[in-house]
Assembly symmetry: none
DNA sequence: CAGACTGGTTATAAACTGGTTACAAATGGC
DNA sequence: GCCATTTGTAACCAGTTTATAACCAGTCTG
């Protein structure tokens, strides 16, 4: 399930992104209205979180533009004292709103409620990239036309992050963040291990990786032809 | 279509009542929790709108009492800054919520959406998937052409969730949420037990499950051929 | 070149998961 | 109240998954 977040507050953006990805959502971030719209077209998210106050194009404009061509659920983020703005946003077609500050738990509950309301229950479509097809719910991957392979929780999260960003190298720090939810010096080994185990499963010859390749000192990336 | 509204704010009660009756609904009003419960029994409404803050018995209590004996759709009305309360209400079995202030248009849309959603579920027709046929009202399942088996309340809820998502693995967390309405560390055992008991009933050889299978570290799923 | 750093590999320990048995508490009809 | 059923708790085991450590080969840097 893919969620687009647009907010100009980078700290908040990171926090929301982290919270949601911990719950298994794939997160796409935008820090202004223009990129939000661009990313909306490119990524086709299943839900959009919009801050009302943003440079580029504010929450209203983005919401209105999205509504012109999609009925995807939109949740507005508002600061206290923006009641008028809020009513306007709801009139414009926003489906829900969340007052800052909010707890991660609240965010998750509301996002899930909104998705449920939108009829998205849990029929997640598998993520495809190159020769790989990942089913996040089932914790399985298929390589080419082969049999689905069982993955562990961490393996699934790693592949999920790499598949969503297929073709681009992802830094070790970011992978640690996405998979374990924290980063520390001692965790270098965890990632090495996890990559190793995933390669054992998905590569034809694990010693010569064709899919999950190392990008020297830049992290790892998933190769797509 | 009959709707019960419970709110201690008389103005708001009148406004909501007016809005809904304009849309053709029959409206029953209650201004406190106690009368809400009494009217619920007497009138058997098709949907309930509950304010969280009420004298007599608050929204939670009313919601919980209603849930004890009915699966009628319940929508909570919340004020700003009641996020925690809201999350609790959703966990208690409320189906949707509406933040004040809301526009009449939003109210109508949400009520209709909820009724539509509930209409599908309460369709009284047994849920079928693969070789299983579950009658939620009767609390029975049939496996293939066999005799209907009696199920307990929890067993029914578990199978209902799995059947609706037949073929897809459902996480333990989500099952805990659907069946018990909460999740916690110690609740792991509950699910293990319940799955075990259901298998004893529906599987030919409970030690080699053909229907209710384990998806390692991803939850459980119902197999359909 | 030495030392720091990175990434791959192997091995082992610790934590967690799921199945099972047994039993206690709660619930519901009579 | 009593009884049967249902639900919750605890403990144990086997298997899997994850964390930690150690060693090695490259690579980068001063």
């Amino acid at each position: 399930m893919k969620i687009l977040i647009a907010d100009d507050d980078h700290d908040l953006l990171a926090l929301i992104g982290f919270t949601l990805s911990q719950s298994g959502f794939v997160v796409i971030k935008a820090s202004d209205g223009i990129s939000a719209l661009r990313l909306f077209s490119v990524e086709a998210p299943d839900l959009v979180l919009l801050d009302i106050n943003m440079p580029g194009a504010n929450g209203f404009e983005v919401c209105a533009r999205i509504r012109e061509r999609s009925s995807v659920p939109v949740m507005m983020l508002t600061a206290r004292g923006e009641e008028d703005a809020l009513v306007k946003a709801l009139e414009l077609g926003a489906d829900d709103y969340l007052n800052k500050p909010f707890s991660p738990r609240t965010l998750i509950a509301r996002v899930k409620a909104l998705l449920r309301r939108a009829g998205f229950e849990a029929n997640a479509t598998p993520i495809r990239a190159g020769r790989l097809q990942l089913d996040v719910d089932e914790h399985t991957v298929r390589v080419g036309l082969g049999e689905p392979l069982r993955l562990t929780k961490l393996e699934t999260r790693l592949l999920q992050t790499l598949l969503v960003n297929a073709g681009h190298a992802i830094s070790s720090d970011r992978l640690l963040m996405q998979v374990w939810g924290h980063k520390g010096a001692g965790d270098r080994q965890l990632l090495k291990q996890l990559v190793h185990r995933v390669r054992q499963k998905i590569e034809v010859d694990p010693s010569v990786p064709q899919l999950l390749q190392t990008a020297q000192s830049a992290g790892y990336k998933l190769v797509v032809e």
